[in-house]
Amino acid sequence: MANTEDDKTLPAEPSRPQEGAGGGHGQLVRGDLSFHDITEMVSRHTEKKAPLAWYIAFAASLSGALLLLALLAYVVWNGIGVWGNNQPVGWGWPIVNFVFWVGIGHAGTLISAILFLFRQHWRTAINRAAEAMTLFAVVCALIWPTFHVGRVWVIYWTLPIPNQMEMWPQFKSPLLWDVFAVSSYFIVSLVFWYVGLVPDLATLRDRAENFWRKRILGFFSLGWTGANRHWRNYEKAYLLLAGLATPLVLSVHSVVSFDFAVSVLPGWHTTIFPPYFVAGAIFSGFAMVVTLMVITREVYGLKNVITIDHLEKMNIIILVTGTIVGFAYITEFFMAWYSGVEYEQYAFINRAFGPYAWAYWIMMTCNLITPQLFWSKKLRRSIPVMFVLSIFVNIGMWFERFVITITSLHRDFLPSSWGYFEPTWVDIGTLVGSFGLFFTLFLLFLRFVPMVAMAEVKGIMPQADPHHYDGGDGRAAGNGHAEGDGEPYIRPAKVASLEQPDTDEGEA
């Protein structure tokens, strides 16, 4: 990169509250940054060599992903019996992991679509990474229902492909609804993410010096020039996609919950599932965003963009959704008692006091009790506290799916068919491997894609306000461009001085 100026440095630590227009209250970007500083802070990570921590994390993650690949081959070669599934527990860890990962994949599109429609400007700092996380989580999720079927080589029979036998899928099955719900969610999320990326990819293209980098980015930035017409079409498309994605955020986990709710099994057969699952998904998704953002902002020096205020807002959402989920747990118990159905009552007593009581109480502790600490403003603004709590939440949410899937199945109607589920080493290996795949994809994203939506962050900065340079009295102080903060629109900043020394933190 051409660096002509030496004296420009970017503050990496959250600095003093900014004075002047837009400062203080409602200040989303800290540190007195110009538009160009934002470009520089974000783009440079895709252009320079990755920090050592990235390589260490990537090596670990890639090993995990390869482990997953090897173990899935092992499952396909030998049969589902290498997992712990049995009779009566027909769905074991694979389905637990599926629901877990789909749940994680909720926050991204919620942040980018629903918060966009509600004009929550704070979403801009985190939406790109959260959406990427969503896509990767859905990829991880899709592995499970695919490979947990007995004959994966005919999995395409679940798709409505015209064939000479006139044999269609069975549209009454919730599993089929899942196929449609998750795949449309994935496709719409991917398109939404990509459309949001176009202006930023064009920025990278304009900065690219390597011929091939320019060509590849040029291809993906769809000839974006930043013309007014482009922006108009872009804004319209983005709004429409947000409108399209919003119902999907709510529908996908509702449909996943139908896998359980539509059945006759005590513990599954309950109408509370769709809202309870959606709340749980948002809960776990936000927790995962917090976990990832806490590390990312530290390693990549983005503390002025992804501020403590952003994290606090996410923690409030975790508190709210965690409480909704906890309320749902208690409602389920009430309904079991109130229904007067002895199978239902037994299912819930068995959850809390049966052979899997340990899983139930892990779930209750991590999902209902520990997030209550976020009532304290001090705790929800503390990085170590939120980091630990967000990991707790995801442990709790994994156990929630474990409790729902496995404890309901292991003892149902006829005691003669009761059983117990124990995971095998393949179960554990594939779960670990799916985390490996997730972090591999996420690290590749951090390396090659602008991890913050630069164009959108610029749009919510005080300078973006047409009256920012007026001094508030309507008298223009500059030419309407970046004159006001003394920074020409295109001037490369000094990269070396932006480097962060703090690369010792592990990621995976």
């Binding site: 009779q87 079927v149 269609w168 006759v264 199945l409 006829l414």
Partner: protein, 277 residues
């Protein structure tokens, strides 16, 4: 549109489906069942049900299509050491309102025109949702390829009338559909209707006390029709509205304490007899 023309349901062959003429049903009399497990053995050899070995049975992967549920009965705390044991053979109940059928994403399990719940192995992709949703837990999944590793002589011993299942598919009691179809074809060849009680399932045939009755509910002369009119008849977990085609005749236990006492020991019986005299 390819899916609108000549739909199978509009074909004459479908409309005149001979299978509609018979509606199969079964009744199991728990009074006469002794729990000898002959039905389990008969089913295993008739239907090529694979024996998976001790280890996999303890892992919950056994393949039996019919099982004998045991219930232990005590009066209060008394006799907890040596409870009375009651038996109930359980196989696929062939629900008319089957929970397994509606959840299969590929329609691999459906209802036959003659009222049995069928499993189409070729279509099954092995999601195991049907097994989860079966309240009777009678569905069996091929967690491994049990048949591929069979020694040649055991392969030769398999029943040629019954498909051998591959790894990754679900299976369950078919009410010996191969026997039903064979009898129907024979009757057709002989240009006659099926006789009452002509079709016997393997479990029924093996039952030494004739506890199992199988037959055509459409034929008033079938034994099963008579059995179904018995006031002791009940359906397993009928409250789930699964409407099983299989019904049980409830066991009548004689709870007169004096008679139970009398049966328990000869001395007591003599004493009771003396007192009555």
């Amino acid at each position: 549109m390819v899916w609108e023309e000549n739909h199978p349901k509009d074909q004459p062959a479908m409309k005149d489906n001979p299978y509609y003429q018979n509606q199969w049903g079964m009744s199991i009399d728990l009074n006469t069942c002794t729990g000898c497990n002959a039905c389990v053995v008969a089913c295993t050899s008739e239907n090529n049900v694979q024996v998976v070995g001790k280890e996999e049975v303890s892992n919950g992967r056994h393949m039996y299509w019919i099982r004998n549920d045991r219930y232990y009965v005590t009066e209060g705390d008394e006799g907890a050491e040596d409870p009375e044991m009651l038996m109930q053979p359980v196989m696929c109940q062939h629900c008319e309102n089957a929970p397994c059928e509606s959840v299969c994403p590929v329609a691999a399990t459906l209802h036959s025109p003659d009222g049995t719940n069928q499993m189409i192995y070729n279509r099954c992709i092995g999601t195991r949702y049907c097994a989860n949703n079966c309240p009777y837990k009678v569905r069996r999944f091929n967690f491994f390829d049990w048949t591929k590793t069979l020694p040649t002589e055991v392969q030769m011993a398999q029943n040629p009338e019954v498909t051998v299942r591959t790894r990754g598919v679900m299976e369950k009691c078919s009410w010996c559909v191969q026997r039903i179809r064979q009898s129907q074809q024979q009757a057709d060849n002989e240009d006659r209707d099926l006789r009452p009680n002509e079709v016997e399932t393997a479990c029924q045939q093996a039952c030494p006390t004739d506890a199992i009755t199988f037959g055509d509910l459409n034929n008033p002369e079938s034994d099963v029709v008579e059995e179904k009119q018995n006031p002791r008849r009940y359906e397993l977990m009928a409250y789930l509205n699964t409407k099983p085609r299989l019904s049980y005749l409830g066991r009548v236990r004689n709870t007169n304490p004096r008679i139970e006492e009398a049966l328990s020991s000869e001395q007591d019986a003599d004493a009771v007899a003396a007192a009555d005299a």
